[in-house]
Symmetry: C2
Subunit: 226 residues, 2 copies
Amino acid sequence: MALDNPTTQAAVTTADKVFEQMLHAIVDGTIKAGSKISEPELAKNYQISRSTLREALNRLEKCHLIERKANVGSRVVECSIAGLLEIYVVREALEGMACRQAAINMTDDEILEMKAMLKQHASAKALRDGISYYQEEGDLDFHYKVILGSHNQQLINILCGQLYHLVRMYRCQFGMNSPRVTKAFDEHSRIIEAISDRDGELAEILMRRHIAASRKNIENKIAQQQ
Amino acid sequence: MALDNPTTQAAVTTADKVFEQMLHAIVDGTIKAGSKISEPELAKNYQISRSTLREALNRLEKCHLIERKANVGSRVVECSIAGLLEIYVVREALEGMACRQAAINMTDDEILEMKAMLKQHASAKALRDGISYYQEEGDLDFHYKVILGSHNQQLINILCGQLYHLVRMYRCQFGMNSPRVTKAFDEHSRIIEAISDRDGELAEILMRRHIAASRKNIENKIAQQQ
DNA sequence: CAAAGCCTTATTGTCGACAATTTATTATTA
DNA sequence: TAATAATAAATTGTCGACAATAAGGCTTTG
């Protein structure tokens, strides 16, 4: 499945399974943003012990999806405009660098794969233009592939392991089917081109612009609403 | 104390205290890099239950200081040249952006504080030139202040909360008293100047060069040794 | 003798209960 | 009545024990 996280290995332990269930629930808002987490209640719901639940909570905390205070408890993070913009700033820096590294470190096979993926997205886009949900998945696919292509384990961990869960949460809860799909698609093409040319400097610049454009798009939307 | 982490609140629970003890032990190599962690053994050493120890281990995992495999156990991370260079790449991207944001978001008071700190470092440096341990602390102080000055919670969490423990670990275990102290000091000055001028673009460029210079310095050292 | 399979041992994952702390409620007092 | 103090309830932190899984040593077999 497109949105599965390439850094997480298959869930073997029950804590892992509960973690994944809660992950989805938090991302899609079933467990509401900002809500308090009651350990006894959730443990009963999932029919597990509190120890196991706490293990799952620790994994969620690693993704910055919940926050814990000693002797007080856990809360799901809030989704605020300010928080969203903060994430964009981090993404601009990190994915820009990931893109530069990808231009250096990607294998030729990986580049071919990316081109194929983009071609597939192109036809899917032609098919159902405007409907953006699949495009959103495609967008994440693209960004994942670039990040993985950096071959930098730290970058991969931070971006795919933690930050992207938050990104998905915001996309779900703020319902972003942006009108940028077509433009974003072109930008993706040029980025792949730069990577293919092994031009790390250009690749970084293009990726940073690509993400900054998304951020500005959001900022404009907000400005309009007010 | 200079090296204390500004993002971590005072340790109240015993798991917190054990976490801090293990943190120091791992950073300075008392608990060897790459070594396996035996839960029963450590629990006995610290005279706590395994549950509490596991809580501490989870915090260490959040800092990427240990790695866990399901049903197998935890290991302290290895310190490799490749791993160190990976961190520099991430720092170049993130601290560069943090510096840009600091130029935008720092208060005038914070900027004054940074200037004062630098002046203090200058006198301390004149006093004991060449001895770099204190300078290392000063260096971390400087970088911390810039990161905090970004006023971006995500940046602060990633850099101060996780990555900097690893940075300190590498510094301790690879024993880096680089001959770059003087040069680094000048670079710090120029960065603060750019921030003071509210020139985010320049501030980012200077910080990226500053970190890239450190990375290249290491790469050269390695190249010489071989 | 080497390799595969089984068994023993040790380690990790999970559970339920108790202790410590916080939060909510009630009672008291100015 | 409002604010404070004391008390009760609930929640989190910690503990020790059991179950499930993996690692190491042993036997067996080709």
